[in-house]
């Protein structure tokens, strides 16, 4: 079965980011497919490479990157939500005349159409939020 995951909240502030990760992992362990994880609202903060939690805490961003790499996941950060909150990839950096890019490994920035498409193409959309 094809699952799509929508993450509405950023890491650390809300458990939603943790729950979404645990659920995604469990979906994969059950042998289902994750067709996309879409990060929206403050959820885009799951995809910034600048996150530096204390050593004794989980690194939520790296955790996504690693899971993404292992399972070839499509981790998509919404471009409009990301621009509002200061998350840019190299293309957006140049387009908007910014001095740096900060998209984390394994994530890509794309449009809201990716969320709608996930709703169409997946068998289940599961939303994690506040």
């Amino acid at each position: 079965m094809k699952f799509a995951i929508q993450v509405n909240e950023g890491p650390y502030q809300h458990q939603a980011a943790d729950s979404a990760y645990q659920f995604t992992k469990a979906v994969l362990e059950a042998g289902h497919e994750i067709m996309r994880v879409f990060f929206y609202h403050d959820g885009v903060n799951n995809g910034t490479s600048l996150t530096t939690p204390p050593q004794d805490d989980r690194n939520i961003v790296n955790r996504w990157s690693e899971l993404g790499k292992k399972h070839d996941l499509d981790l998509v950060v919404c471009v409009a939500a990301a621009q509002r909150r200061g998350i840019v990839d190299e293309g957006e950096m140049k387009r908007n005349g910014k001095s740096a890019q900060n998209i984390a490994d394994g994530f890509r920035i794309s449009g809201l159409g990716q969320l709608v498409e996930a709703g169409i193409q997946s068998d289940r959309l599961v939303v994690f939020g506040d």
Binding site: N8, G111, L112, G113, V116, G119, I120, Q121, L125, V127
Partner: protein, 136 residues
């Protein structure tokens, strides 16, 4: 699979301005309209506050996105279900909401109301028929 038309329901349960959920949810609806799905919106709990008329954000310097609801009809988003009980609990009636309309191409472009007042039980039945539920 990708060719089939799904019933998409966007659930709105939050008030505008206090958080960005209502506005960013509306952005998804606008983008989603291009995908030709069978789209409905539900307004329940504090979500009904999104449709209140006379919103004026000039003194809080925030974007007033309420005119966008009126544009939904042009995007063929014409089913806005408003839960009656949520209105009543908040001391509101249809008169307090923006008069949203669309032009029905199947009925000689007659102007019709987009807002459909439904009871909680009716909305529960409508939700039951949906394929995908978007929550923000």
């Amino acid at each position: 699979m990708s060719e089939q038309i799904k019933k998409f329901m966007y659930i709105n349960r939050r008030a505008p301005y206090g958080t960005i959920y209502a506005w960013e949810s509306l952005e998804v609806v606008l983008i989603g309209a291009a995908f030709d799905q069978d789209v409905s919106l539900a307004f329940m709990d504090d979500g009904v506050y999104q449709l209140i008329k006379g919103q004026d954000t000039s003194e809080v310097d925030m974007k007033n996105f309420s005119p966008t609801y009126q544009a939904l009809g042009d995007y063929d988003v014409t089913k806005l279900f408003v839960e009656k009980e949520s209105l009543e609990e908040r001391g509101l009636t249809l008169e307090d909401l923006m008069p949203l309309t669309y032009e029905d191409e199947d009925d000689d472009w007659a102007e019709k109301a987009s807002i459909r007042l439904v009871s909680r039980a009716e909305l529960a039945d409508i939700l039951e028929q949906q394929d995908v539920i978007f929550s923000f």
